[in-house]
């Protein structure tokens, strides 16, 4: 059976099931969420008002047996950036939505009654609107428990915690993973959009359905084999990522002078060894956690892990470099276990661990926290934030607003979104991605670190300007395409270095849908999506003046390389010349 679009209206609690318009047929994931948002959402609307829409779309290959294809995209106009947003996640939702034949779930409107929160329960050709007063005021794990008690089977759960109910910019949408833990549509305040629509959680039940059809199963199998082999044989995806997770980057960025430290005042940190991936892997081995773990079924890379405390009790999973960096070098916590505890708490609360932690880094400049005072930060996180105290609301607004409220100049944001983990002055290609990305400062949008620092896809000197705009452009185009397939972005490492990888990916798409796309077609899809998003942002009021890094980076030199951000506006704007 053909996939269908499920359209939910929260104003009058109704739903429609629609055929997929022909122009959406070849789209999935980010390509589809961004196309729908661009077509149906007024760019001038208030992100938390009735005219914004929240769109979920599994990738083109989600639900198939293709390795690493289980990412689900969520899109809307972002309350954090004021522009378009797409954030994709592992977990079980992409696979289950695809099995049910849901091409996209579009949620529009908002209920008149401010006081009622709903669970949306999606089944074959049906959406139930269930009032859930008993879940209001609970955080994510309690919601997962309640859903596990209610449905004695595998259902996808997407939920928000108290911070999402209060529509704060930090709020994410959390998704249950195969191990019963959480993954998140992290950035951009999508949890606030869900909260504004009075949706506490969405459950999807695909029991007895398997609507994913493969036009040419033989060809699919063959391409899938080659693709999986490419992922497994690549030294990064096959060995480095599983052994050390993404946190292996602490030491590399520290060495390269690109590890933002003390709210972007230096490029290296004397305590990097305390929090690095090597230390993390040692702890995991000694304490009986897991160094390898997949965020969704079918991941053969397994960059995730389970991290326990000294007594072997679970602290967190999906413990990522960007969070560890932000709470570590940037905010100053030297104790990896405390960082893990905060990471686990942020999962439960449903807040973006990058935005929250970058905000803590700035809170030091604001005089709210002392550098490295993890205990006090934990208190803010566990008490003020979820209870919505005035200080909780201030932190919950994110880095940009905190900076404005306290009259600060050194505010590390682009388009209102906190800059993650890679110092733009010392990793200049990444700086171009931060400046130009339609998503605001988002490291995954075009990971120039790969070529600037990791020697993947060649090498472009991170400290020089030459070649950076082109690098960031090519990577952002490729990423927009990959984000549409349902693939985890880490397939980019073999794709950059193994000539068999990308053709196999395109062959899988062709075999799934019976089409005959070329690599050029896929690249063109990436270009089209980026331009569509860019156009939305321009109409939303974000123009080239917003494609800029914070001004202090132009005049403050960054040790140890003593570099500044030296791109002119015209040089940055060249990015859009394609």
């Amino acid at each position: 059976m053909a996939d269908l679009v499920y359209r939910v209206n929260m104003t009058n609690l109704s739903f429609k099931i629609e055929e997929v318009p022909s122009e959406w047929l070849g789209l999935g994931g980010r390509a589809l969420t961004s196309t729908i948002v661009a077509k149906e959402v007024d760019p001038e609307c208030h992100p938390l008002g009735p005219n914004n829409k929240l769109v979920f779309a599994p990738g083109l290959l989600s639900g198939t047996s293709a390795s690493n294809s289980g990412r689900n995209s969520c899109g809307a106009k972002s309350p954090l950036t004021g522009g378009i947003k797409e954030s994709n996640v592992g977990g079980t939702s992409a696979g289950i939505m695809s099995k049910l034949g849901v091409k996209a779930l579009i949620i529009e409107g908002m209920p008149q009654n401010e006081n009622t929160f709903y669970q949306l329960h999606v089944t074959k050709n049906n959406v139930e609107f269930i009032e859930v007063p008993e879940l209001v005021g609970l955080d994510n794990y309690a919601v997962l428990d309640a859903m596990a008690a209610k449905y004695d089977k595998k259902v996808a759960v997407m939920s928000i915690g108290r911070v999402g109910e209060m529509r704060m910019n930090l709020a994410n949408i959390s998704v249950k993973d195969p191990g019963g833990k959480l993954r998140s549509h992290g950035r951009g305040g999508l949890g606030a959009v869900m909260g504004s629509k009075k949706i506490k959680c969405i459950t999807v039940d695909a029991e007895n359905y398997k609507e994913v059809t493969i036009a040419d199963p033989e060809k699919f199998k063959e391409a899938s084999k080659i693709f999986t082999k490419a992922l497994q044989e690549n030294p990064i995806s096959g060995e480095g990522l599983p052994a050390f997770g993404t946190n292996v980057l602490v030491n590399i960025l520290n060495e390269a002078g690109g590890l933002p430290t003390r709210n972007f005042r230096a490029g290296n940190w004397e305590f990097a060894e305390n929090i690095c991936g090597e230390t993390m892997a040692e702890n995991i081995k000694a304490r009986g956690g897991k160094t390898t773990h997949g965020c969704h079924a079918g991941c053969v890379i397994q960059c995730s892990q389970v991290y326990n405390d000294k007594d072997g009790n679970y602290l967190t999973s999906g413990f990522e470099y960007e969070t560890i960096w932000a709470l570590g070098a940037n905010f100053g916590i030297k104790d990896l276990d405390l960082i893990a505890k905060m990471d686990g708490l942020m999962d439960d609360l449903g807040v973006d661990s990058i935005e929250t932690s970058v905000t803590f880094g700035l809170a030091v400049d604001a005089g709210i926290l002392a550098y490295g005072d993890g205990e006090k930060a934990y208190e803010l996180l566990s008490k003020d934030l979820p209870n919505g105290t005035p200080m909780g609301r201030i932190i919950g607004s994110g880095t940009h607003l905190l900076g404005k409220l306290y009259g600060l100049v050194r505010v590390p944001t682009v388009k209102g979104q906190g800059i993650p983990a890679y110092e733009p002055r010392a990793v200049k290609g990444q700086g171009i991605t931060y400046a130009t990305s339609t998503m605001g400062a988002d490291h995954t949008a075009g990971y120039a670190v790969a070529t600037n620092i990791l020697n993947s896809g060649g090498h472009v000197d991170p400290l020089k300007k030459e070649g950076q705009v082109e690098l960031a452009r090519n990577l952002q185009i490729a990423t927009a395409a990959v984000d549409s397939t349902g693939m985890c972005i880490f397939v980019a490492f073999p794709a950059l270095d193994d000539p068999k990888c990308l053709p196999a990916l395109v062959d899988m798409i062709n075999a799934r849908f019976g089409c005959s796309l070329t690599i050029d077609d896929v690249v063109n899809l990436g270009k089209t999506i980026l331009k569509r998003e860019h156009e939305f942002n321009i109409k939303a009021g974000l123009n080239s003046a917003d494609d800029r890094l914070p001004e202090f980076m132009k005049y403050e030199t960054l040790p140890p390389h003593n570099v500044v951000w030296d791109f002119t506006g015209e040089e940055i704007d060249e990015f859009w010349n394609f």
Partner: protein, 75 residues
Amino acid sequence: MHVFVKLFAQYREGRFKAEQREYPNETTAQMVIDALELERVSPLGVLMVNGRHVDPSYCLQEGDEIALFPKVGGG
């Protein structure tokens, strides 16, 4: 001459994290890599001297800090 050698990720296993070591003049980065048999473990990913990416043919100087990483990545 004295060179400070730092190893990372898999390269640390059975070796060391960071050590001040003695090398004859004219030693290249590649010679350090070979002497430590690093590429038997995993291909070289990133080579930096004093925080800058260099080629394996780089000729080490007194007081240099050399950092050696296997192919690793993240994001």
